[in-house]
């Protein structure tokens, strides 16, 4: 195990290969890879910061969920999702970066990263790049992350307008999402200026359909109400759930129910 003092040292170690990155350890420690050499990033000061950038928040990858919940600047929508993650002990250890690095479409904070169009800061000794979250997820457990790259931070835009969040697990706590949904909508003078909707735990990655969201953008609430059946029907066609712990039928129905309710709550 190596526990570097700063990001530079961590990136140098990482570039030499053969390391398994460990932040909070809530994934790695459950089934540790055999003979794994752990690169502990949990104490890197550069990865522990939460910064207010005005329209967005920069959250260090090693910030824990509990720290996120307690922060005055993390958006409430993100906090709503964080509060439903596992249980206090795991939230004390689990991190924003780890949730992303795990690569699961069920990761609760990642749903919010998607719905808010977050960007990631990926660091390596070669430099830094900042891909969009939806470009970073290539497929089930497939990430656009080079072996020498480390997730350093998340740039999370603050939601404009009102938001909606729902998670369905198998129980109240310590529950992997069976389905999660987040929606954000901004209405100015009766006109929808922006709308986004994301579905977690439905397919290999979090689902978002920007071309469908565009159907309602720029429309008045009256127009949107008239278009609602077509809008829902379009999502019905677009969402192709996978079968897992729950059936495709249930997943599809709940996705559409929550989408419908999200719109209703906002006068559509």
């Amino acid at each position: 195990m190596v526990r570097p003092e700063n990001l530079n040292d961590a990136l140098k170690t990482l570039s030499r290969g053969g390391m398994t990155i460990c932040a909070g350890g809530t994934d790695v420690m459950v089934y540790p890879p055999e003979n794994a050499r752990l690169l502990m990033v949990d104490r890197l000061p550069e990865l522990k910061l939460i910064e207010d950038l005005g329209d967005a928040v920069r959250i260090g990858a090693a910030v824990t969920f509990t720290e996120g919940i307690e922060s005055p600047i993390v958006p409430e929508l993100m906090k709503a999702a964080l509060r439903r993650i596992a249980a206090p002990a795991i939230r004390n250890m689990g991190t924003f970066g780890g949730n992303i690095g795990n690569g699961s479409a069920k990761a609760d904070s990642v749903l919010i990263d998607f719905v808010l169009d977050a960007k990631l800061e990926l660091a390596s000794i070669r430099g830094t790049r900042t891909p969009d979250i939806d470009k970073f997820y290539l497929g089930r457990k497939k990430l656009d992350l080079a072996p020498d790259e480390l997730i350093a931070a998340i740039f999370l835009p603050k939601p404009k307008g009102s938001w909606y969040y729902e998670k369905v697990g198998g129980r109240e706590a310590l529950a992997i999402s069976r389905l999660s949904f987040a929606g954000v909508i901004d209405v100015r003078d009766g006109v929808i200026t922006s709308l986004s909707a994301a579905f977690g735990a439905v397919a290999d990655t979090v689902l978002r359909f920007k071309e469908l969201e565009a159907m309602l953008t720029g429309k008045s609430l009256d127009e949107a109400r008239a278009m609602k059946p077509d809008f829902i029907a379009a999502y019905d066609r677009a969402i192709v759930p996978i079968r897992g712990r729950v059936s495709e039928t249930w997943r599809k129905e709940v996705c559409l129910n929550l989408l419908r309710d999200f719109l209703s709550q906002n006068g559509i």
Binding site: A87, G170, A173, L174, R178, V246, S247, W250, N257
Partner: protein, 706 residues
């Protein structure tokens, strides 16, 4: 209150367990001990054609059926479950052989590199397709055909229930040793003498050459009643072959996939209704026994006996069968056949009440058995049945009447609510003639020269607090402070056979032996001298002796009674249901320790609720269990039950210590029907299948609204 025996004390094992000092089987040092890893069948039914073994490193061993010195069968009730598979395997997970070696990983690698050639046979995975009946029991009274003929109408319904995993915190674990012709085994278990007898047969030695030590055990719920005998036989055979101690502690997946569970059931019931009353019941029960008989005979008996619910119906016919399937053998699980019957009977009566336009609770109370009424097996309810008073108490506590009426009206909006109430009992003690003819419990108290007293019993503290409650009984009778009485380690080389830790019998039966022994010891008390007092089980005088051949008489001397209510709220957009509150009222006789009893009632109730709602064991087409980890097999946490209230309604029992009777299993029987009745108010439909999941809820809501 402080002079009441029920006043809570700090549990005897509290400090050891809360501080982490208590050593479970997996915690002992490994000095010179070999790890045992078991190779298991990947086929539900097959003939083993050949087994290809890799070259073995020095110090590693293969142990299989050829190494069993005695009979290759583990004695449980019958002797049909092999120690290691013979020519065929009968379920996925059946043990074929064991690899033993000094390094755990290496031993696992060797096991995983063994190739088994199977000739696959057609497995029976659906109990309805099974043609092999392991056991059949029944009971009857009156002329069923005549009553069905006379009825205003005959109501028919089918009820199904699924499987359930005990989910004890500590997995199965056992260590075997062989020294000087003596087989000794220690580990996690409920019944040291069951293991003891099984080992004598497998090792072909007399019982003096067997020693079993029950160690710190992290939960059982029935799951450590029969299975430890199988694992003990495997490590004992391995220890004899290798000449070294061999320890086998399961992985969680292995434990969930290969050990016993609750019997899935199918009930077909006909009820004759005449003049607004149920006048006859015809109950046909099918239990899925799994691949071997293990404890199915006794589970089936309890299900058959409870098939009249808490009711007294003039005409009764019950027929129960336990059928073989090629699935993991089902065995003991808290309630032991009772939860299946009470779930079906409570819902049946509720549905008949609906049909008659009657209030369900009122209708059920009209049929409730009373003191002096006959039991299903022609015995007698010898004591007061406090159900009506308990219903009143509990209704007041949870506001049942008002809520039930309110939720029955049409509900609109995203969230809907419902409340349900169940009435049930648990027959206290071993079923039928078991205590008298088979167990014949023996208990000793040993007073040492220092005037401290040891309780010598074979019962296990599996978390239910027995080392504390046993000591409380003896201390009270002797007039000694609690710290002067201890419960000796359950080691068969020096404790007598006080019987298994099962059937909610420990306090009522063994506790009473402790009390009687303590009373005698007190009479003989001479300070500074050693003294041993022995007590043996005697059937109480009032009991109508049970005849196992005719299946008639008092199957239990007395009953513990329960009433439970559950209030739910469902999100109609997702089908997800939250428990708003759960309330239970219990007659377990005198409460020996209020904290311990409350813990038992709360845990058992929650287990009953999740049996109906959350817990399910889906298998794929080959019969393999798909959810063998705790991230996939969900059990409730404290967060799922924000309001959980327990009250007691003690009716003292004449032949239990200070009036105590059976406790541990009772609360598990009522959770499913109470939960399901609450759900019926939400989905506006009669339900007869558990588990009823989030998906089922959403689907039913959709069907009803169409």
């Amino acid at each position: 209150m402080s002079d009441s025996i029920g006043t809570p004390v700090i549990k005897k094992d509290h400090c050891d367990k809360i501080s982490g000092r208590a050593l479970y089987t997996d915690d002992w040092p490994m000095d010179g001990v070999l790890y045992g890893r078991i190779l298991r069948s990947k086929k539900a039914r097959a003939r083993i054609v050949d087994i290809h073994l890799p070259p073995l490193p020095e110090g590693c061993y293969i142990i299989d059926r050829n190494d069993v010195p005695g009979v290759n069968r583990v004695h449980i009730v019958k002797d049909d479950c092999p120690v290691f598979a013979d020519d065929t395997v009968e379920y996925i997970g059946e043990a074929i052989l064991m690899v033993a070696g000094p390094d755990k990983k290496e031993t696992g690698r060797i096991r995983d590199s063994i190739e088994v050639e199977y000739e696959e046979l057609e497995p029976v995975l659906d109990v309805l397709k099974s043609e092999e009946c392991f056991f059949e029991y029944g009971c009857s009274r009156g002329d069923l055909d005549a009553e069905l003929e006379r009825a205003d109408f005959v109501y028919e319904e089918q009820f199904r229930s699924g499987s359930q995993e005990q989910a004890y915190l500590e997995v199965q674990g056992m260590e075997g040793m062989w020294q000087d012709g003596i087989t000794s085994v220690r580990g996690s278990m409920q019944c040291p003498y069951y293991v003891h007898r099984a080992l004598a047969g497998v090792m072909a030695v007399d019982e003096d050459h067997v020693r079993v030590l029950g160690e710190v055990t992290g939960g059982g719920f029935g799951g450590k009643e029969d299975y430890p005998s199988i694992l003990a036989a495997q490590v004992a055979v391995a220890a004899k072959k290798t000449g070294k101690p061999v320890r086998c502690v399961f992985e969680r997946r292995e434990d969930i996939e290969c050990t016993s569970k609750r019997h899935p059931s199918l009930y077909n019931i006909k009820a004759a209704v005449r003049d607004g009353r149920v006048t006859a019941l015809d109950v046909d029960i099918v239990l899925d026994a799994g691949a071997y008989t293990t404890l199915s005979a006794v589970v089936l008996q309890r299900a058959v006996i409870a098939a009249e619910g808490i009711y007294n119906i003039p005409v009764l016919k019950v027929r129960g069968r336990a059928m073989k399937t090629n699935t993991v053998p089902n065995g003991a699980f808290r309630g032991f056949g009772g939860p299946q019957s009470f779930y079906a009977l409570e819902l049946l009566f509720d549905h008949i009440a609906q049909k008659l336009g009657r209030d369900s609770l009122e209708f059920r109370l009209e049929h409730c058995a009373q003191k002096g009424d006959p039991t299903s097996t022609g015995g007698i309810f010898h004591f007061d049945v406090p159900i009506p008073e308990m219903v009143e108490e509990l209704s007041k506590l949870c506001g049942y009447g008002e809520k039930h009426k309110k939720y029955a009206a049409e509900q609109s909006g995203r969230y809907r609510r419902g409340i349900g109430m169940s009435l049930f009992y648990h027959g206290a003690g071993f079923t039928g003639a078991g205590e008298r003819d088979m167990i014949k419990a023996v208990l000793r108290l040993k007073k040492n020269r220092d005037d401290n007293v040891e309780i010598l019993s074979a019962n296990m503290d599996i978390g239910q607090g027995l080392t504390t409650t046993f000591a409380k009984i003896a201390a009270r009778e002797l007039g000694l402070p609690l710290d002067r009485v201890t419960v000796a380690d359950p080691d068969t080389s020096f404790v007598p056979d006080s019987g298994p830790t099962v059937a909610s019998r420990s306090i009522m039966v063994v506790g009473e032996l402790i009390r009687r022994a303590a009373a005698r010891l007190k009479e003989q008390w001479v300070s500074g001298e050693e003294c041993i007092v022995e007590e043996r089980f005697r059937e109480p005088d009032f009991v109508l002796p049970f005849d196992p051949e005719r299946f008639e008489g008092d199957a239990y001397p007395t009953f513990s009674w329960g009433v439970q209510a559950v209030e739910l709220e469902t999100d109609t957009l997702t089908g997800y249901t939250r428990i708003l509150g759960a309330w239970g009222d219990y007659d377990i006789g005198t409460v020996i320790d209020e904290n311990i009893a409350r813990g038992q009632m709360e845990g058992g109730f929650l287990q009953g609720i999740s049996y109906a709602s959350m817990e399910q064991i889906p298998a794929d087409k080959s019969g393999r269990i798909r959810n063998s980890s705790f991230s996939d097999y969900l059990i409730p946490t404290a967060a799922d039950i924000p309001v959980l209230e327990t009250i007691f309604h003690p009716v003292e029992y004449s032949d239990g210590p200070y009036g105590a009777k059976g406790a541990g299993e009772l609360p598990t029987a009522g959770g499913a029907p109470a939960w399901l009745m609450a759900m019926q108010q939400i989905v506006c439909r009669e339900l007869n299948c558990i588990p009823f999941t989030t998906e089922d809820t959403l689907r039913t809501l959709g069907e009803v609204s169409e």
